[in-house]
């Protein structure tokens, strides 16, 4: 064979010996390996009872964040929708009225914010694009459902519930 690169390894191929040619040793060897695995540690996890923890960077279900005072962080700038390769995010902006300062952090907020989870590919670009740290991908899996409509997550489904914040206090 032509030697093309500076370093390469040639695989040697020896013919089978008589001991290898009769089937019985091969079968016995295979069985001994599989039997030895009975006494090893189990590799499986019994899933619904035990769950492996996800890593902090795991890209799961989206969450719309609130700030320290429980106000919505999202300002409906549309950068996440622009960054989304799957075009899964749609939003409508609205202006904050006087008296709503405890609800929304800035003058503009998202009146409608929808993520189509069937389109979403969980790439994490929305999280990367968000200048207000409003949207991030949590460490949970998307639950299954029966209808297509139920996979379009509205703002109420995505927002962290407000009572959580009160519990902290």
């Amino acid at each position: 064979m032509e030697k093309l690169t500076n370093r390469y390894v040639q695989i040697n191929r020896d013919p089978m010996t008589f001991g290898e040619k009769i089937y019985i040793p091969a079968i016995a060897k295979g069985l001994s390996i599989t039997l030895s695995h009975i006494f090893r540690k189990k590799a499986t996890v019994s899933y619904p009872e035990q769950k492996r923890p996800f890593s902090p960077v795991y890209r799961g279900l989206h969450i719309l964040n609130r700030d320290e005072e429980g106000r919505e962080r999202c300002t409906a700038c549309g950068l996440c929708a622009l960054a989304c390769p799957a075009e899964a995010i749609t939003m409508e902006a609205a202006e904050r009225k006087p008296g709503e300062e405890h609800l929304y952090r800035e003058e503009k907020y998202a009146a409608k914010y929808e993520i189509n989870m069937l389109r979403c590919i969980f790439c994490g670009y929305c999280e990367e694009a968000c200048p207000k740290d409003a949207v991030y991908l949590s460490e949970t899996l998307m639950p299954s459902n029966y209808t297509r409509q139920s996979f379009i997550y509205k703002k109420e489904d995505l927002l962290i519930p407000e009572h959580k914040k009160q519990d902290d206090k």
């Binding site: 064979m1 390469y8 695989i11 960054a83 969980f122």
Partner: protein, 373 residues
Amino acid sequence: MSLLGEDIVTEDGEFVINMGPQHPSTHGVLHLKIWLDGETIKRVQPHLGYIHRSIEKMSENLSYRNFIFATSRMDYLSAHINNEACALCVEKGLQIEATPRAQVIRILMAELTRLSSHQLWWGCTGLDLGAVTPFFYAFREREAIMEIMEETCGARLTMNYMVPGGVMYDIHPNFQKRVKDVMKQIKNNLHEYFEILTGNVIFENRTKGVGYLSKEDAISYGVTGPTGRASGVSCDVRKWFPYEGYDKVQFDEILDNCGDCYARYMVRMKEMDQSVSIIEQLIDNIPEGDFQTKTKNVIKLPKGEFYQRVETARGELGVFIVSDGAASPYRIKYRSPNFSNLSAIDHMARGAKIGDLIAIMATLDLVIPDIDR
């Protein structure tokens, strides 16, 4: 009596059957139309397009930052290396380089991907040839690598960890320790792999001398990767066109000139050893520094054509970008390894028996979404 518009028995008395598109041994929606004389294969015709998703066309409407995601869906078993190819091509256009830290992380991730891909292939090959146990063993080891990927990249299969200029996040603090543990485990297990499948006489009889592909044919069909190297074609992109500092690490290119299924099997098995050795060289030497070079928010490549090739687990992947100066590519073409490798199946299978075709398909290591794109 017609089967897809043609008679079951041709005028020459050849029997036409369809293998797939949902056949247990075709690893996906590969449809092979086979002309048979008795049990001997006269001709094989692959029918493609069942999962064509027009990734190339879709990329024309996406920005340079976003089109990378789609390539994880091409060859999903070496998703990381596909992403790397696109990121490198964009970096070539921008005339920047990833930071030293990012480069080493990329090599580590690419080799981990190659290991997990080859392990899955090993399990599936065993399954196709009638050995069920390898499938479970392979998935057990693969799971350990998938956990590392999940911890650092944020996803298990479609990692999407590459961005132009580096990687998306820094590595997890546990990364080095876990990789070392997994490498120790894999080294033990590779020994076990050889014992349970390689030396088995049934396996050897089914693969030795089956599906021969000569060096000349391999070159003319454009067969690359382990499949090409088993035929004696020295085609390792990591050696010939080193990228990301592959020229700085010590590893061997595995070559064999037998060109049959057993040679392809052995080349992949030996490649796992090489991947382990590359990872062991680099895991303690990850340089400090940034994990990402600063790039503009909207990447615009200068007018021109850019090409980058990388070595995926299956062969040479080429990414060709034509840019007209806008924020999204004018045209993207992927040269995918599986498409070229599949084209040789007719040549290899002629004259063989149906059972041999399964062995040929298994050792070609086909991933169907990469063929269709």
